[in-house]
Subunit: 418 residues, 2 copies
């Protein structure tokens, strides 16, 4: 009998709690092998600071409610462990906390950086002869992990952006003759254009929004963009544009660079939409509007994809099953069997193979003019937004779970990040 540790890492999603629900539900089914699932308060920082929630105090109804609650119910963090050489103390501290709390299963729910951390920790525990099974659980709205067909979290953002541009497109079309002619919607995607590409699902025939998609994979060509906008307005009376926050110019600079960097050293972005709007106004003279979806898109559990919710739960469940089957340093992935009807099953990949590898949109998914997606891309994306998985409502608002779990009593001395 041993305890398990679970933590959420990096940017949260509309369905990361569904993975938590998969882990906890499944662990409860194997109660003879896993005693308690302890969860890090604010992710791995909770393990370092010995701030652990005991999920055994959660009712089954609460565990089920995680499945429809967006955000990170236990808290997440942007905190990347350095290499073992650079910060041995952190790895030692993790094992000390795990030992003190009888933790021998480590489930880490995150993106490429987090899978790298899980992998390093697996190696370290092995070297230290501490029995620790390390299993990753994929998560990222950016859909940029290799090997897996998709990353839980992405399908729901994809659905949100496709629904939003379809709706806003109808609005703009109604008014274009006498009012706004160009509408620009900025979506997430720092290095990979999967989210912006997904907006393309809203367009089922020529002329239907979105008319132009600007991807980080295609360097921004101002003249070509302005010409495409002008042509679109001439042809259809209006133009809707979806732009990835990570759009870069020919010098490789982000069109909208704030200069701030996050804890991982990534530039913090936001605000490429107003930059494009300014161009449209000054160069073409069209009336414009712009929107920046920002967190609304990745938190939008009210319009989550049913497929995404199901896959998020499934990878959580599989992670526990992998651990109990004696696997280590691996993560469950989604394996596509066929496009339509979509069939998939859970496969397995090594943490080492997904760690720190980013998967951009392949060239064959990008339209020849660089301003849209191909039919192949649509065939890939379409299954991921299928089905609605509405949360319950009370008084007209989604009724999301808020946890108020007590922390497990500390057994060690305090610890401070360096």
């Amino acid at each position: 009998m041993a305890n398990a540790f679970y933590a959420q890492s990096g940017g949260v999603t509309a369905v990361i709690n569904a993975s938590a629900s998969g882990v906890i539900t499944t662990a409860r089914e194997y109660a003879s092998q896993i005693d308690k699932v302890l969860v890090g308060r604010n992710g791995i920082i909770g393990a370092l600071q010995e701030e652990l929630f005991d999920t055994s105090t959660m009712t089954d109804a609460d565990v089920a409610a995680l499945k429809y609650t967006p955000g990170g119910a236990f808290g997440s963090c942007r905190y990347k462990l350095k290499s073992i050489e650079q910060n041995l103390a952190e790895y030692q501290r993790l094992l000390a906390v795990f030992k003190a709390h009888d933790i021998h299963y480590f489930f880490y729910n995150g993106g490429g950086d987090s899978q790298d951390t899980a992998n390093k920790l697996a190696q370290f525990a092995l070297a230290q002869d501490y029995p620790l099974t390390c299993i990753g659980i994929p998560k990222t709205v950016d859909n940029d992990l290799p090997l897996t067909d998709t990353c839980p979290g992405f399908g729901s953002v994809a659905k949100y952006v496709a629904v939003s541009i379809r709706e806003a497109g109808l609005d703009v079309a109604s008014m274009a003759e006498s009012s706004t002619k160009v509408f620009i919607m900025e979506v997430m995607g720092r290095h990979a254009g999967w989210i912006a590409a997904a907006a393309g699902l809203a367009s089922t025939h020529a002329g239907q929004p979105p008319h132009l998609i600007l991807l980080p994979e295609v360097l921004f060509n101002e003249a070509a963009f302005l010409s495409a906008v002008k042509d679109c307005v001439a042809r259809f009376g209006y133009c809707t544009v979806v732009v990835s926050e990570g759009l870069r110019n020919t010098e490789g600079q982000f069109l909208s660079e704030t200069g701030l960097k996050d804890a991982f050293g990534h530039a913090q972005l936001g605000g490429v939409a107003p930059v494009l709007a300014d161009l449209v106004k000054t160069q073409l003279g069209f009336k414009y509007h712009w929107a920046v979806a920002d967190y609304l898109q990745r938190a939008a559990r009210h319009i989550a994809s049913a497929v995404d919710v199901e896959q998020a739960f499934a990878v959580g469940k599989a992670a526990v099953e992998f651990a109990l089957a004696g696997k280590n340093a691996v993560l469950p992935i989604i394996v596509r069997e066929q496009d339509e009807p979509y069939r998939w099953h859970i496969g397995e990949a090594k943490l080492a193979d997904v760690a720190n590898v980013e998967k951009p949109l392949p060239a064959e998914y990008i339209r020849a003019d660089g301003f849209g997606i191909t039919e192949a891309c649509k065939r890939y994306l379409a299954p991921l937004i299928q089905g609605e998985a509405y949360p319950p409502y009370e008084q007209g608002l989604p009724c999301y779970l808020t946890l108020d779990l007590p922390l497990v009593a500390k057994k060690l001395e305090g610890w401070e990040k360096k």
Copy 2:
């Protein structure tokens, strides 16, 4: 037997087509009195240019589908008729087109400006001895019409912003310890703060998002705002802010116009959210994110309020019934009977009494510190977002109606706007 004319006016909403559905459905029920409902292409401009859609070619299923399709299915416009003295020719032209097409009922679906136009036209037709019944149909996301309990279109935006800030708030709360501490969501409302106020419904206890609401009714006090943000972060670990696009400083300028300047010193066209974010960053040093919902909020039929959809249909239906009952120069309004459970019925107001009158948030709906709403405001707002009225989905996306109606053959010479 006579024909009816219907037009959509001004900014469209998630439910203005539900009012169109109410008009057409009801007119079909009185087929012995109303022959055809002709609709202006792009609103009143369609009447002036004699571009009229014949809705009798629409199937009943299409008319029903209008009830769940956002935007303006026939096109709308921002075009206000001048006074009769200033532009007599326009009024003469409208009557000429109506006479040519046997139109004796005029239904105008819009805000305060549009009700003013409908009223002027009623007077002019009377003076010209042309039998024309003019009935307004209320619509505006801003909820700023007087007399009516609410304006169809508002309840759905209200629901969208409350759902969005609840979801984004969960996201920010998850990450605040190591990442974003302040999140700012900009919503519509140039002169009245009803939309921003509605976000307050998401907060059912102290500390729940949104923490601060900035209304156009309260002049922006930078020091008080920064102090409130700082206190909120100290108390809850993070701060979520909902701001009305129409927020003004103590000199009466829109904050959105005081923002960043480009290389030539021109104001960058932006929203108020990035201006506040910049303040938070430079004055308090907190990591921030911001979103601008823009058209997404007023087009978001996928999360429409069932009450709003029902009321939008009801005012369309009532408009036809008023006309057939011999009323003129009036509009149906929503009359509240009680808050909970919400009970309402259709009442009647004179166009002259709603024309060009804006209803701001009353003082008793604004919290003493100016950064939130009162319980009285919540009691007013809560009923308006009740119920979900999901559209049908196909392939993971809402299946909205797109019309391709033929225009009625012109009978008059062409006409050009002056």
